[in-house]
């Protein structure tokens, strides 16, 4: 139990002294993405191999947080050389230990290599994906075993807390956060310092601080990476915030779909208590603070702060009207300050390095860095952290390496279900809270979904509206009914029942849903509809007037047809069709029974490209199958070539 900042510093020096800087360390990403591709087995393999080679005393093996490059996972970094290996499997492990750990040789086939641009990178810092980022928040993930507080302390952890408690008054902390220009990372973008000030000034003895870790946007997992990978950074921010606001109880509200995050944050709280960063008389300062963890039970709307508060009280999370804002009347009616995971993780940086340092990166209205989850039709799927003001083009092309399979970029969707789609002509837009709104989208929590020419924008709008219809809590009718009606119209359009006037009706519904709904879920629900109409109106018109889906996505408007002139009766599509719609047979030209076909597209995908017999049709009638007798293929027997065989190849 530490009782003063001096004791904390002493402990830190002891930890650093114990870690000889040249000690070999193998860090393996144990984030959700890498675990899904087998990281746990890689960690086991390293542990076994190191033990087998008798190196346990000299080499440390650890599972760490997610560094973000999910595309090439499982990721392994070997220190002190900082050699970075990608897509590592258990069978690579003996070679890595023999070559790199023992002989200090690089295993060439496992390092980053881009064949197209002929770029090779041995060290993490040289990989283009990382090189173009500014990783203040997630950069430490690969250096930390999230279950060991000492790893966080070794990197200077909890020094910001000591500074706040012993060198700053609560007002000064609030002042510093205000001056930093930090804005809420959960989606709203409200200035954090102003929110804190309101909660600090609100009358009342009992106040609460809450971490909103109910990350619900599909395709977004930034908060998860911080929760799983560097939980102490969030706790440190929360304790500082509690001190600034005058709260003695805090909650972390984590969605139960993140079991690893729950586990790691739980371990982190226990360790912080043991060390004296939580509990009574923190670091001998006289300040008391405790944290409890609550689990979200799978309701998207609970990310909204008033809904989250009710859920913490054990009730259904149905939002209420604001004001009163939680700053004056929150949990159990007491003044409450709620910030998102990433917002809290920024706090130690601001306190430690100062608002002026923090304000150096970012734009005039949005300061600092932002983590985005770059996903969808992009070569480098992963988490990227860039300064506010980075352009979409740099994020997508320099970091994300562009669109895979030689396809053409169509749009990028930001802001989750409440966000919007941004087309190619806005790619040079500098990403910050205000610029995205001007383009009809929002920053949201940081989801960035890239779409290519094969993505149908009407289908994307329908997808988001369907998502919101399922997640609408139903308390207010504009949201409950408005979204449902928009879904009905969009479904009609994507299934070929669109009619003149649908676009205008959608715009009208979107307007009234947005204006009249109770909470942010309904108020922002029109965004995916309006932004796709604004930038991709022609796609809506094609669907409605020509009953055609140009990207062949809407199954109701697409048919599959086998060209009899090209079909060789190879039977692959016949075998793979799960609807039994391909009428095949040996030496019989195949055809698709349109009454059975559900347009899943499997036949199109599996038809060997040298034949290319399966054809997608949209907006036109499907040709009738050829007569039964014309289906028979008479194959000529292959005549062996009469060239003499070389003697050496004879058995």
């Amino acid at each position: 139990m530490l009782n003063s900042p001096a004791e904390l510093e002493q402990l830190r020096q002891d930890i650093l002294a114990k870690r000889k800087s040249n000690k070999a360390r193998i860090s393996i990403c144990a984030g959700a993405g890498c675990l899904a591709t087998g990281a746990a087995k890689v960690i086991d393999a390293f542990n076994a191999e190191i033990a087998k080679e008798g190196l346990s005393g000299e080499v440390e093996v650890k599972g760490t947080g997610c560094p973000g490059f999910c595309e090439r996972g499982p990721i392994v970094v070997l220190d002190p050389e900082e050699t970075c290996y990608l897509r590592v499997t258990p069978k690579d492990v003996p070679e890595i230990v023999a070559q790199t750990v023992k002989e200090k040789q690089v295993v060439e086939r496992l390092v980053y290599f881009d064949a197209v641009k002929n770029v090779k990178a041995v060290h993490e810092a040289d990989i283009p994906f990382y090189k173009n980022q500014e990783r203040n928040i997630i950069g430490n993930n690969i250096k930390i075993d999230p279950k060991r507080i000492d790893d966080y302390l070794a990197l200077g952890g909890y020094s910001a807390l000591a500074k706040a408690l012993f060198q700053m008054t609560p007002e000064q902390v609030v002042g510093e956060v205000k001056k930093s220009g930090l804005r809420g990372r959960g989606g709203g973008g409200f200035p954090t310092g102003i929110k804190w000030e309101a909660a600090r000034k609100a009358p009342g003895e009992t106040k609460y601080v809450i971490v909103n870790a109910d990350e619900g946007d599909p395709g977004a997992f930034m908060d998860r990476a911080v929760l799983e990978g560097n939980p102490h950074s969030i706790l440190e921010g929360l304790i500082i915030g509690a001190y600034a606001i005058g709260a003695h109880d805090g909650y972390v509200y984590v969605r139960q779909e993140y079991p690893l995050a729950l586990e790691n944050i739980g371990v982190a709280i226990m360790q912080a208590q043991e060390y004296g960063f939580l509990g009574k008389n923190i670091l001998g300062s006289g300040f008391d603070f405790n944290i409890r963890v609550n689990r979200g039970a799978g309701a998207f709307v609970c990310g909204e702060e008033t809904a989250l508060l009710l859920s913490l009280e054990g009730k259904p999370g149905e939002p209420r009207a604001r004001p009163p804002y939680p700053a004056t009347s929150g949990l159990w009616g007491k003044p409450t300050n709620i910030n998102n995971v990433e917002t809290w993780a920024n706090i130690p940086l601001i306190v430690d390095k100062g608002a002026d340092w923090y304000g150096q990166s970012g734009t005039a209205s949005s300061k600092g860095t932002k983590i985005f989850s770059l996903v969808g039709k992009i070569k480098n799927t992963g988490l990227v952290e860039v300064p506010m003001g980075a352009t979409l083009r740099d994020i997508i092309y320099k970091i994300g390496d562009g669109i895979p399979n030689g396809k053409k970029f169509k749009a990028v969707q930001t802001g989750g279900p409440a966000g919007g789609c941004i087309p190619e002509e806005h790619l040079d837009l500098a990403v910050d809270f205000d610029e995205l709104i001007k383009a009809g989208a929002i920053m949201g929590s940081g989801g960035m979904i890239v779409m290519d020419e094969d993505t149908c924008m009407v289908d994307v709008a329908r997808y988001f509206v369907n998502f919101l219809a399922q997640e609408s809590c139903g308390k207010c009718s504009p949201c409950r009914e408005g979204i449902k009606q928009m879904r009905r119209i969009l479904t009609d359009i994507t299934e070929g029942r669109g009619k003149e006037g649908d676009i205008e009706l959608l715009e009208e519904l979107a307007m009234s849903t947005g204006k009249a709904s109770l909470c942010a879920l309904g108020r922002t629900a029109p965004n995916p509809v309006l932004s796709t109409i604004r930038h991709f109106r022609h796609e809506y018109e094609t669907h409605i007037k020509e009953k055609r889906c140009p990207s062949f996505t809407c199954q109701g408007l697409v048919s599959y047809y086998i060209d009899p002139a090209k079909c060789t009766a190879c039977r692959i599509c016949d075998r793979e069709c799960s609807s039994d719609a391909v009428v095949g047979g040996k030496n019989l030209i195949h055809y698709v029974d349109q009454t059975k076909c559900n347009a899943c597209g499997t036949c199109f995908e599996v038809c060997p490209s040298k034949f290319g017999a399966v054809i997608r049709i949209t907006g036109e009638d499907v040709p009738a199958p050829i007569p039964e007798e014309a289906r028979i293929i008479v194959r000529q027997r292959r005549v062996p070539k009469k060239e003499p065989q070389p003697a050496s190849s004879a058995p």
């Binding site: 959700a32 993405g33 675990l35 899904a36 591709t37 999910c70 595309e71 996972g73 619900g216 946007d217 599909p218 395709g219 977004a220 997992f221 998860r224 139960q256 779909e257 993140y258 609550n294 689990r295 039970a297 799978g298 309701a299 998207f300 859920s311 913490l312 009280e313 054990g314 009730k315 259904p316 999370g317 149905e318 989850s373 996903v375 969808g376 039709k377 799927t381 992963g382 969707q413 989750g416 989801g447 979904i449 779409m451 993505t455 994307v460 997808y463 988001f464 998502f467 809590c473 199954q555 793979e576 799960s578 609807s579 559900n598 899943c600 597209g601 499997t602 995908e605 599996v606």
Partner: protein, 150 residues
């Protein structure tokens, strides 16, 4: 049904009414569904009307009021998976297991559900069967994978 287990769960939360969601989650994790008897016990012990417990249990997606099958399939319908073809994957799963999301088949072999995001977009489209992630799915591969369960 194990009444003792349920009592333990309730007591672990000090019988606080505010801990209702935590209690329901623990029971869900223990039994993989919320048996009606359990809801009645919570109602009695915490002095909460059964109707309010039903309201909560049906409001949150994590809870199931029907028993689950031997294998739980969760098809990810996150945006990244969606643009990479998740709807076609779901369609094939539905066709093969013969049930809709939220249902369990008559043999109690499979329960099917959709989830909003599993957070491993790099390997999308992805589904989770019995907590194991199966990625880079296309309809044909999905059909093949489902044969591995009985």
């Amino acid at each position: 049904m194990d009444r003792k287990k349920i009592e333990q769960v309730i007591d672990a939360h000090n019988g606080e009414a505010s801990a209702l969601i935590e209690i329901l989650l623990d029971i869900q994790n223990e039994f993989h569904w919320l048996p009606g008897e359990a809801l009645e016990m919570i109602s009695e012990k915490l002095q909460i009307p059964l109707s309010r417990i039903q309201h909560t249990a049906t409001f949150y997606r994590a809870f199931s009021l029907v028993p689950k099958g031997r294998h739980e399939i969760n098809v990810c319908m996150g945006t990244a998976c969606h643009v990479r073809g998740a709807p076609r994957v779901l369609e094939v799963v539905q066709q093969i297991v013969g049930i809709e999301p939220g249902e369990t088949d008559a043999e109690m072999k499979f329960s099917l559900d959709t989830v909003n995001c599993l957070g491993c977009c790099a390997i999308g489209p992805v589904m989770e069967i019995d907590e194991q992630h199966l990625g880079k799915l296309v309809p044909a591969k999905t059909a093949e994978l489902l044969k591995n369960y009985d």
